[in-house]
Amino acid sequence: MRHNFIDRYAALDSPLHLLEARTKILAFTGLIVAVLFIPVDSGILFFVYFFATAVLMGISQVPLGYIVGRTLFILPFIVLASLAAPWHGYMEVGALFIRAVLCLMLLILLTNTTRFVELLRGLKKFGFPQILVMNLSFLYRYLFVLTEEAMRMKQARDCRRVGRAPFRKELKILSSMLGTLLIRSFEHAERMHSAMLSRGYSGDFPLISRRRFSWNDLAFLCGVAVFITSTFGLR
């Protein structure tokens, strides 16, 4: 269990990467919502949005193989949904498939062109509840700490067993691992709280952004807005 899924391609510097987080959050959310509202029978619109997504993928420099690989995860759901195809009609299921894939790709683009830290700062500026922003921030920070501890425990466990133990034993082992990790979590939180108090914590949490909203951001947003309104307007 590695933690290289966070910010894997976020350090590239394509034009998309350089945009401010808020811009991308707005733009991609807008595109995802637009895709979800494409009517079933409008093949042209599907094609147009597919093309737009492909363009964005190209600009982003995120490896195509990676995006396609991640999109494959949606397959089981598609399979299940298409079991209902004989009744619904293949066009409807096809529409569902394309919509789902496009939305997923857009989400992948959003999260892989923005460092998680920047994403959080953007959310905070949008008025996301303070408590969630802090939680996400701590989750991000402690994911690495706890993953290391969990890996060490797993290795220690693996050193001491041969083959697969009976169900009850496995259960006990996993419960103790989880329990130990849980206790360590509580201890970390306790100490973190002491450290926060020592530095004057009283509820505020800094997320200082250095990226400023620039003309590029405005241009991109306007571009996306025009795109969405014109494609739906012309329908």
Partner: protein, 248 residues
């Protein structure tokens, strides 16, 4: 008229589960003094440090720079007393180093324009380059994390600095670097540690704690060279004193 940074009188503390952590601690520290607190594990060293800024409150009195520690003045006290905890992971909880160091001043309502300068100064004082600000702490080595943790405390410009095992788990080079940084600090220092060589390098006065009580309080060299006293409390005379490497 001597200025006391810290005056602790008959401080006792019992944990919620009943274990006595501190019993009748009396300790006076002058402004600018550098004292070490040594003792076996579980002696109560860390617990004592936590009383310096009100994280823990026991019975007895704690006076910081002349003021009693009370609920109402905790904010001012925490500006005066900086605590460096043992595990850097628990002190670095912001997404980037810059935010971690800026955390303290922001809570103290330092004006926004002032903050970058303070952060840079603190990073410098801790022996770090300003460019480390944009990095995330999990990408740093332990030595760097220790120094960043120190910076997060130094940035508040405290008069008194409490440290819990500052050199633990550091490789020799990082350890040496940290000792250099610490030696250059102007604050009153109270260092709880097992690293007796560090004590000899930095602290002129040493307090020996065991089982929640203070057993000895005096000049560092004399105390640490006293084999009988050290042995009685689960410690050893440091190597450099034994082999006669150090002269003072």
């Amino acid at each position: 008229m001597t200025d006391y940074a810290v005056r602790i009188t008959r401080l006792s503390y019992t944990y919620p589960d009943g274990t006595k952590a501190l019993e009748g601690i009396d300790l006076d520290v002058l402004v600018g003094e550098r004292i070490a607190i040594v003792g076996p594990s579980g002696a109560g060293k860390s617990t004592l440090l936590l009383h310096l800024n009100g994280i823990l409150t026991g019975t007895g009195s704690v006076k910081i720079m002349g003021s009693n520690l009370e609920e109402s003045n905790l904010k001012e006290i925490r500006k005066e007393v900086g605590l460096l905890f043992q595990d850097p992971n628990d002190q670095l909880f912001c997404p980037t180093v810059y935010e971690d160091v800026a955390f303290g001043p922001l809570n103290l309502s330092v004006p926004a324009a002032e903050i970058p300068r303070r952060v840079d100064k603190a990073l410098n004082d801790a022996g770090l380059d300003h460019s480390i600000g944009s990095r995330s702490s999990h990408h740093l080595s332990l030595g760097e994390r220790r120094r960043v943790s120190l910076a997060t405390v130094l940035v508040m410009e405290p008069a008194i600095l409490g440290m819990d095992e500052p050199t633990s788990n550091l490789d020799p080079r990082n350890r040496r670097h940290l000792i250099e940084v610490v030696s250059g600090l102007k604050a009153t220092l109270i260092i709880a540690t097992h690293d007796l060589e560090l004590v000899l390098d930095v602290c002129s006065r040493t307090v020996l704690m065991d089982q929640g009580k203070i057993w000895a309080d005096g000049e560092t060299h004399d105390m640490l060279a006293n084999a009988g006293l050290m042995g009685k409390h689960g410690l050893e005379v440091p190597l450099s004193l034994r082999s006669g490497v150090r002269s003072t």
